[in-house]
């Protein structure tokens, strides 16, 4: 209706945060760091975990709701001192062999394990993202989980409960990772990140962290992101590095890009059950590949063809334009 911005306005330069996976891990993941790897079954940052193994990081604290295959690999790779998690199983496909050995036998050395429930982990990220000293939740009443995790405490509400009596509630402390790594379908060079399908806890894990690495299937033009700003789950101001790494979530899936590798999940229980076989697997598939592109190539075209997906496009919406 009025006041179009003059065409002469100089475009504001956007920082370009794209880097290689190697450089991103080298820059932001130090020995001893607390690293959150999030993605609930969908968009698991597996390729980033593999690069951490390749670079031989040590004494990491890994935070992850569902400590699945990538966690087992990181532990077997000698990278992990401590695990903070709410589910330590190989999805619905069996066991995490290395993780179980470390917890059940303490061999080759014990693994520190800080255990929560899913919502406990979610609330820890919420507290971290919101810079809160604690976050209340209606879980844990009568559970043995607080007895093995002194981080889970109680607070008395300053308001009367429904029966007029004082009310208590459990709380969890904030989780503030040194770096959070998530995988996404696409981002622009500045780090505006779009995710569809399961969005999980990624945004909160990123905002809770001091640094954030976004691994993406595609780096897209600014115009693609800006055509649908509601799809941006993580804005550029929360992102430090953007890494293009197609198929970097394997064996997890990327909605609209490739499907879950169910056979790999089922196979992992066998591989990880045998320490020698597991070591060989790491040597061949992770330490024996230079980067994720080589891992992808090694899996082979036929393998990837089996994970291909068809099309189901969203209906576009009109954001409108002032006339």
């Amino acid at each position: 209706m009025q006041n179009p911005v003059a065409e002469s306005t100089q475009p504001v330069p956007r920082p370009d945060k794209t880097v290689t996976m190697r450089d991103a891990i080298a820059a932001f993941v130090a020995d001893g760091s607390t690293v959150a790897l999030e993605g609930f079954t969908h968009l698991i940052p597996t390729a980033a975990g593999h690069e951490i193994i390749r670079q031989g990081r040590k004494d990491l604290t890994i935070a992850r709701l569902t400590a699945d295959i990538v966690t087992d690999q990181l532990i077997a790779g000698g990278c992990v001192r401590k695990l903070v998690s709410s589910f330590v199983g190989n999805s619905t496909a069996g066991s995490l062999g290395e993780l179980r050995r470390r917890i059940e036998t303490g061999q080759p050395k014990p693994l520190e394990f800080e255990e929560y429930s899913h919502y406990g982990m979610i609330c820890r990220y919420l507290a971290g993202a919101q810079r809160l000293p604690f976050y209340p939740l209606r879980s844990y009443g009568g559970s043995d989980v607080p007895s093995v995790n002194p981080g889970i405490r109680k607070v008395t509400s300053p308001y009367p409960g429904p029966d007029g009596e004082t009310e208590q509630i459990y709380v969890v402390p904030p989780l503030s990772p040194d770096v959070t790594i998530v995988h996404a379908q696409r981002a622009d060079r500045a780090g505006n990140t779009q995710i569809w399908g399961l969005t999980g806890i990624q945004a909160e894990a990123v905002y809770a962290a001091k640094r954030a690495i976004i691994v993406v299937e595609e780096v897209v033009a600014d115009e693609v992101i800006r055509s649908d700003p509601n799809r941006t789950v993580i804005p550029a101001h929360a992102v430090d590095a953007v890494v293009k790494c197609p198929r970097g979530a394997h064996p997890a899936f990327a909605q609209g890009y490739y499907d879950r590798d169910g056979d790999f999940y089922r196979g992992w229980s066998q591989i990880s059950k045998d320490p020698e076989r597991l070591r060989d697997w790491l040597d061949e598939w992770i330490r024996g590949t230079r980067d994720h592109a080589e891992y992808v190539a090694k899996l082979g075209d036929e393998h990837w063809a089996g994970l291909a997906v068809g099309e189901a496009w969203s209906e576009p919406v009109n954001y409108g334009r002032r006339l």
């Binding site: 899913h118 879980s139 009443g141 989980v145 399908g197 999980g200």
Partner: protein, 275 residues
């Protein structure tokens, strides 16, 4: 209790244990609107209920999917086929915070390695937590389902003294009695139904133990008592569960899981002497 069937003729042959559990669980969903369920027998039960006793019932998945219309039977609660064509995909903060803790789930389905007579569940460890004999996957969202769903259904494929125990090795997901002793007021009733290959155990709420409510045809009370690690109370009006009807079995086999992914081809079948 809804142990009665909806169909016409009884089918007394060739029923597998998975089919039996799915059918019996589906009948218990009369009048329920929202169910929180994992993949497997619980989803089969809900899918069958949608076509029989509870047409409008909605499954909410832990992954955040609401109103799924999958093109294929999903393999996990986060399967890509659950997302495409679904009505809503919620972030986990909303799913756990607004839907589950917000009190909008009528029935949550849970599994467990151990259950005690108050319906407390262990899915964490066998042995001592600090040096376990077996490390199990852990809580996941089970603590939250127990604390926040109006009631919880447990489906156990095998009713035995290892699982039905007088004392849990570890209490992952406590029922309301334990919660109240800890000074926390839970929203729901905790476990109200345990559906096993021997029968149905039930409790109504705070202060009540699980009682044997009904047995499958041919199962004796002594058989159930022997398979239960505590002194099991028996309902005064103990009933016999009506076996799956042909209509129920047809829907389950032809519509819900035609490739027998969760019904299992290699299903050992129910215990001898029953069905």
């Amino acid at each position: 209790m809804n142990a009665g069937s909806t169909g016409s003729r009884e089918s007394t042959v060739d029923v597998t244990s998975s089919e039996l559990l799915a059918v019996v669980a589906s009948r218990e969903l009369v009048g329920k609107n929202t169910v929180f369920a994992g993949i497997g027998l619980p989803t089969l039960a809900v899918s069958l209920a949608q076509q029989t006793v509870a047409p409008g019932i909605e499954i909410v998945y832990e992954s955040g999917v609401c109103g799924a219309h999958p093109s294929h039977l999903p393999e996990t609660i986060a399967d890509a086929v659950l997302i495409t064509d679904s009505e809503a995909v919620l972030p986990m903060t909303a799913l756990f915070g607004y839907v589950l803790q917000g009190g909008r789930i009528d029935v949550g389905f849970l599994g467990a390695a151990q259950i005690d007579k108050w319906g407390n569940l262990n899915s964490s460890v066998i042995g001592d937590w600090h040096a376990p004999k077996v490390r199990l996957p852990g809580a996941g969202g089970a603590v939250e389902v127990m604390a926040n769903a109006r009631e919880v259904f447990v489906v156990m494929r095998r009713h035995d003294r290892r699982s039905f125990t007088s004392e849990l090795d570890f209490c992952t997901s406590p029922g309301p009695d334990r919660a109240l002793r800890d000074g926390i007021r839970p929203l729901g009733s905790g476990v109200t139904r345990v559906i096993t290959d021997l029968g149905i155990l039930a409790r109504e709420g705070v202060g009540e133990e699980l009682r044997l409510l009904a047995t499958h045809p041919g199962v004796t009370v002594d058989q159930v008592r022997a398979a239960t690690g505590w002194d099991l109370q028996i309902a005064d009006d103990l009933a016999t569960i009506e076996p799956p009807t042909e209509a129920e079995l047809r829907l389950l086999r032809e519509d819900v899981d035609p490739d027998r992914v969760y019904l299992r081809r290699s299903d050992p079948g129910p215990r001898p002497g029953r069905c």
